[in-house]
Point group: C2
Chain length 302, copies 2
């Protein structure tokens, strides 16, 4: 371990189990809480559940423009050699495009990442300036889009990217209507208050496989069972243009898309500039920059 102190040990040989969260959920700085558009009730909801859902926040014409940009990126020949272009293991269809907040990849999504509707909420929750740790589009084609198992993003970012503390949030904007049956993002409310440590040393270059099938950083089933039994499982369902903000340590998963309709979303991970990555806490090396930013911590500006 190259870091002096690890508050959230994971990828260990022996099971560590569940560790209580040691970081605040709603952050503050030396001046106290940050002001922003979130109401007290919304802040209490985020504190309690670990996520907030804003039904239809982006109007249809904006959503249509995002979808257009999705189609453009999917077909962009310049991106064929881009490491952040991930395809389905079997069908070779595009599953994700990473790095979409970069101005040289997408001007539109670069602007969206700095949109006050996202930025003001995120800065209020993290009580600091923020930068993008990771960004991506997820495509989930009709009938074929696969799901992913229960996990905490923070566990991966801590183990593999060296993110020291829980002071990051993700924003997901759904670009298609999401129903309970169509493989929406599922969340376990309240799970962000526990760090579920995972067993097993991370192999080198794990990310190459883990983007397709996650084998390390998989939480113990008993822990998920315990947390899910407490408050159940919720799903981020709603019309296209809805925004989900979820805390970096909230357990989430998604099922396969068995509907005829593609489901897509845009995804930005905001990290506090006061929470810069260190050496990875549970992996032999760092991941490429498209998965975890390590150099550019310039605060985002509108």
């Amino acid at each position: 371990m190259l870091n002096s102190k690890d508050l959230y040990p994971t990828r260990t040989e022996e099971p560590v189990g569940m560790i209580p969260r040691l970081d605040p959920v709603i952050h503050s700085d030396e001046h106290g809480h940050w002001s922003g558009p979130l109401t007290d009730e919304e802040l209490r909801g985020f504190e309690r559940d670990g996520y907030l859902f804003f039904d239809g926040l982006f109007p249809p014409e904006e959503v249509e423009a995002f979808r257009e940009e999705l189609r453009r990126l999917e077909a962009d020949p310049d991106l064929n050699d881009w490491d952040g272009m991930i395809r389905e293991p079997e069908s070779n269809e595009v599953r994700s495009v990473f790095g979409i907040h970069r101005a040289d990849i997408s001007d539109r999504f670069n602007r969206l990442a700095r949109d006050p509707r996202l930025l003001d909420r995120v800065r209020q929750l993290l009580a600091s300036e923020v930068y993008i740790h990771q960004s991506r589009i997820n495509y989930k084609p009709g009938f074929r889009g696969t799901g992913f198992n229960w996990h905490s993003d923070f566990e991966t970012w801590h183990a593999e990217d060296g993110m020291p503390r829980m002071r990051a949030v993700s924003c997901s904007i759904i670009l298609t209507d999401n129903h309970a049956l169509n493989g929406p993002l599922m969340l376990i409310p309240g799970s962000h208050k526990h760090f579920v440590s995972c067993v097993g040393a991370t192999p080198e270059d794990n990310y190459r496989r883990s983007l397709k099938v996650q084998e390390f950083g998989v939480p113990d089933e008993d822990a998920i069972r315990t947390l899910a039994r407490e408050r159940g499982i919720d799903a981020a369902t709603g019309p296209a243009g809805s925004l989900l903000i979820f805390e970096c340590n909230t357990l989430h998963a998604s099922n396969a898309n068995m509907s005829p309709d593609p489901r897509s979303n845009v995804f930005f991970v905001y990290n506090s500039v006061r929470n810069r990555p260190q050496q990875p806490y549970g992996a032999p090396g760092v991941r490429p920059a498209f998965l975890g930013e390590r150099e550019d911590f310039t605060p985002l500006e509108r």
Copy 2:
């Protein structure tokens, strides 16, 4: 083809596409409709949708007795060599036990198959005496239970068991509460009115693999898309003890079970004694008796 006339060609080399249903949905005999407990409204619902759902039809104490019998069968050493005992490809956990209506396998489920709450409804729909074409328990363990893709049961029974006409219905009794997020049975309302012919010759002994992963008898995605866009996708959700009756040609599927709770159900396929199997319409040989009865057509009696 050994049968003189095939109304529903499938497993063909060239695509046949969608064929309109040629059989009635609610059957009648020379005396007209059969009497039974189903109301006119329920009959209209079955005619229109291809299924009926009875919320909590079996009371909790009966459901508990069924669950006990499930656990007994799962662990019964006498069933270890039973061909109808199917395990998950990876974990080796029990996925299904077939033939559970047989008195020598389960006295309790033998009685359930003849229970008037099922039998009277089924005979009313099929307007004749009935026998069991196939029966099984499905286990879907928490986190691990896999799903199955969109298909019509009739397509398989026609191609591989030689069931000539659409005059069969399935009864599924859910033994655990089913929520939209937990991999419930999904159905396409109205799909029973179209026969979706499938491309590709059936290999010998296809059933050995198809019980785990279905590769033949997979309907064309465009057909499913067309049918699902018309009236959407529904899910059989409700409390333990609910009964789903669905027409043999209704398209259905289910997603993986990502909840911590196991989902189980008991499943009986009732075929009209006037619809006895012929030679398979789309396979080189017949399947074993536990998948499709070929000898005993004795009408079920209470």
